[in-house]
Amino acid sequence: MLLASASALLPGFTVIGLVNGGTFALLALGLVLIYRVSGVLNFAQGAVAMFSTFCAYQVSVLWGLPSWAGLLAAVAVGMGLGWAIERTLRPLAGRPVLVRTVVTVGWLLVLQELAGFLWGRNAYHQAVRVVPLSKAFTAPGGTPVATDQILTIVVAVALALGLAAVLRRTSLGADARAVADDPTAARLWGINVGRVTSASWMVGCGMAAVAGVLLTPRLNFDTISLTVLVIEGLIAAVIGGLSSLPLTVVGGFILGVAEAWPRAFAPTNPGLEKFIAVLVVVAVLSIRPPKVLGARAA
C-alpha cells in the first residue's frame, strides 16, 4: 500500500530532485573548472556566490536598477573575487594542495563575515529575481515547476556544454587543458600558466555568482545558506568525478534526486536530505575513489 502510493509520487519527486540538482550542478561547475586547472578545491565557492549575490541585491534592490544590471554586477564582483583569491594563492605555488585549499577556507570566513557587516546578519533580504517566479508547468503527481527552476537547469546544462566546448575547441581551452595536465610542461610550451590559472578562477567564480543570483529566490537569503551550499556543490563535484563538466551536472542531478526520493515514501525534513547527501557521497567514494591530481597534489 505504502509502496504503491510511493511509486505514484516518485515521478514528481524526480522532477523536484532534478530541479534541485541543477542548483548543485551550477555551484559545482565552477568548482570543477578551478580544480582541474589549479588543483585547489575552492571551499569559498559558496561564499563567493553569496557575496556576489549581495552585490546584485545592492544594485537591483537597494538602488532599484533593473535585475540584469544586478546580475552583471554580481558576475563582475564574482570574477574580481576569483582574481583576488588566485592572487593570494600565487605565493603558495609548490606548497601542498591542502595548504592552498585552507586559504580558501580563510576567504570563506572573511567573505561571510564581511557580508554580514555590509548587509546585516540573519536579516531577511529581498532576493533579486531575474525571471518571475511563475509556474511553467505541472509535473506528474501535481508538483508545480516554476520558470526560474527550469532556467536553473537550462543554465547549468548550457554552461557545462558551452564550457566543455570552449575547453575542447578553442586555443584558450587547449592552454587550460595543458595547464591542468602538467603546469611545468605547459610553461615550457610557452603557455602563460599564471594567466590561464587566473582566468579559470575568474570564470569559475563568475559562474558561482550566476549560481548565487539564480538560486537566492528559493533560499533563505542570508549570509549562511549559500555559503554552506558549497558542501552540496562539493558533493556533486565529487560524485561527478572532479574531471568532466557534463559529468558534474550529472553528479548534481544524482544528488538532487537522491535527496528528493525519500520524500515520496514519508514526509521528511530538510535536515534528513542533507544527511542523505552525506551518505550518497560516502557510498560513491567507497565504490569509486576519485583520481586525485597525482603529481601536483604531492
Binding site: 593570494t88 591542502l98 585549499t101 577556507v105 567573505l111 563575515e113 562539493l234 565529487v238 547527501a277 586525485v292
Partner: protein, 335 residues
C-alpha cells in the same frame, strides 16, 4: 638510574602543570565574571584544538568535523544527566566513549581517502550532524544540567571550575606530547609523511589512522564534556558547522604541529572577540580577523604561527649570544 630519571622528569612536569594551574587560577581570581567564563571556555576549546594536533599534526589527516565530535560528547552528557538521571561523573566517561566510537566511524572513509577529498567528506559529515543527527529526539531541544558536586571541591565556584578545566587540558597536552614520542607517535609520523612508504615498511596504516581518529575524537569529546560542565546547558547550536570550520582554521593558524597550539588556539577562540572589543571593534568581526589572519599566515608561515614565533625567538637568541659551534646548515648562513 633511568627509572629514577624518568620519575624525576615526570614529577617535574606534573609539578609544572600544578604550578601553572595555581598561577593561572590566581590570575583568573582577579578577572570579572565574564572573563572567568571565557578563560574556562578557552581551556575547553584548547582541548578541541589539541584533538586536531593529534589528528592533523601527528597523523596528517584532515577533519572539519571536530566541533561535532565535541557536540556528541556534550549532548550525550546532557542526555544522560538531564534525562536519564545519571551522575555527571558516570556520564562523562560514557560520553567520551561515545565520541570515540563516532570518531572511529567518521574515520572509516579516511581509510581510502586522503587530503582534499577527506576534507570534503568530513565537511559533509559535519553538515550531516548539524542538519540532521543533532536534531533527532531529545538532542534537538538541548539540555540543562546543574554543576555536579565533587568531594573536596566546590565546582559552583567559577575559579575552581576553571582550575579543573585547565588541569584537564594540561594533563591531556602532556599525554599528547608523550604520545608523539611513543612508538605509536612515530608510526603516526610515518603515515603522515608517506602512506605508501609506511605501508611498504609494514606499518598497519588502517589501524593507525583509526587510532588517530579515536584519540582525536576522545579529546574532542572531552572538550564537549567540559563545555557541558562549565556552560551548564547543552545546545546543538554551540556545535555548528561554521564553528567546526573555525576550529580547524584556528588550529591551522596556530600550527597543528605543536602541542602548545592547543593553549594558544583555545585562548584565541575564547578571547578573540574580547580583544577586538578592546581595540574598539565589534567582536562579531572575529571571523574577518581569523580568515584574513589565516590567509596571511599560510603565505608567510605555512607551518603555523607558533613554530614561526619559536624560530624567530631562537634566531634572536642566537644573535645575542653567538654560539661557538659552526653552523653547517646552508639555509641559515647569511651571505
Amino acid at each position: 638510574m633511568n627509572t629514577i630519571l624518568l620519575l624525576r622528569t615526570r614529577l617535574l612536569r606534573l609539578s609544572a602543570i600544578a604550578a601553572g594551574v595555581v598561577l593561572a587560577t590566581l590570575a583568573v581570581n582577579g578577572f570579572g565574571a565574564n572573563d572567568r567564563r571565557l578563560a574556562t571556555l578557552a581551556a575547553a576549546y584548547g582541548l578541541l584544538v589539541l584533538s586536531l594536533v593529534v589528528l592533523t599534526g601527528f597523523a596528517g589527516q584532515v577533519s572539519f568535523v571536530q566541533a561535532q565530535l565535541a557536540g556528541v560528547g556534550a549532548l550525550v552528557t546532557g542526555w544522560l544527566v538531564a534525562n536519564m538521571g545519571w551522575s555527571f561523573w558516570a556520564a562523562a566517561p560514557v560520553a567520551v566513549a561515545a565520541s570515540v566510537i563516532v570518531g572511529v566511524v567518521v574515520g572509516l572513509p579516511a581509510l581510502r581517502l586522503q587530503g582534499l577529498i577527506l576534507g570534503v567528506v568530513t565537511l559533509a559529515l559535519a553538515l550531516g550532524f548539524d542538519a540532521y543527527l543533532f536534531t533527532l529526539g531529545p538532542f534537538g531541544k538541548g539540555f540543562t544540567l546543574a554543576r555536579p558536586a565533587l568531594p573536596g571541591l566546590n565546582l559552583a565556584d567559577d575559579r575552581i571550575t576553571f582550575a579543573v578545566c585547565l588541569a584537564v587540558l594540561l594533563l591531556a597536552a602532556l599525554a599528547v606530547a608523550n604520545l608523539r614520542r611513543s612508538g605509536t607517535g612515530r608510526l603516526f609520523a610515518a603515515v603522515r609523511d608517506s602512506e605508501v612508504a609506511a605501508r611498504t615498511a609494514g606499518v598497519d596504516v588502517t589501524r593507525l589512522k583509526l587510532t588517530a581518529f579515536a584519540v582525536s575524537a576522545g579529546l574532542a569529546g572531552l572538550a564537549g564534556v567540559l563545555l557541558a560542565l562549565t556552560v551548564g546547558s547543552v545546545e546543538k547550536q554551540s556545535f555548528g558547522l561554521l564553528f567546526s570550520v573555525n576550529v580547524t582554521a584556528v588550529a591551522t593558524l596556530m600550527g597543528t604541529g605543536m602541542v602548545g597550539s592547543a593553549v594558544a588556539g583555545g585562548l584565541f577562540l575564547a578571547f578573540g572577540g574580547q580583544v577586538l572589543n578592546l581595540a574598539g571593534l565589534d567582536p562579531q568581526y572575529f571571523n574577518i580577523v581569523l580568515g584574513a589572519g589565516l590567509i596571511a599566515q599560510l603565505i608567510a608561515a605555512p607551518e603555523g604561527l607558533l613554530p614561526k614565533l619559536g624560530r624567530l625567538g631562537s634566531a634572536i637568541a642566537a644573535k645575542r649570544a653567538p654560539s661557538p659551534v659552526i653552523d653547517t646548515n646552508p639555509a641559515t648562513v647569511t651571505p
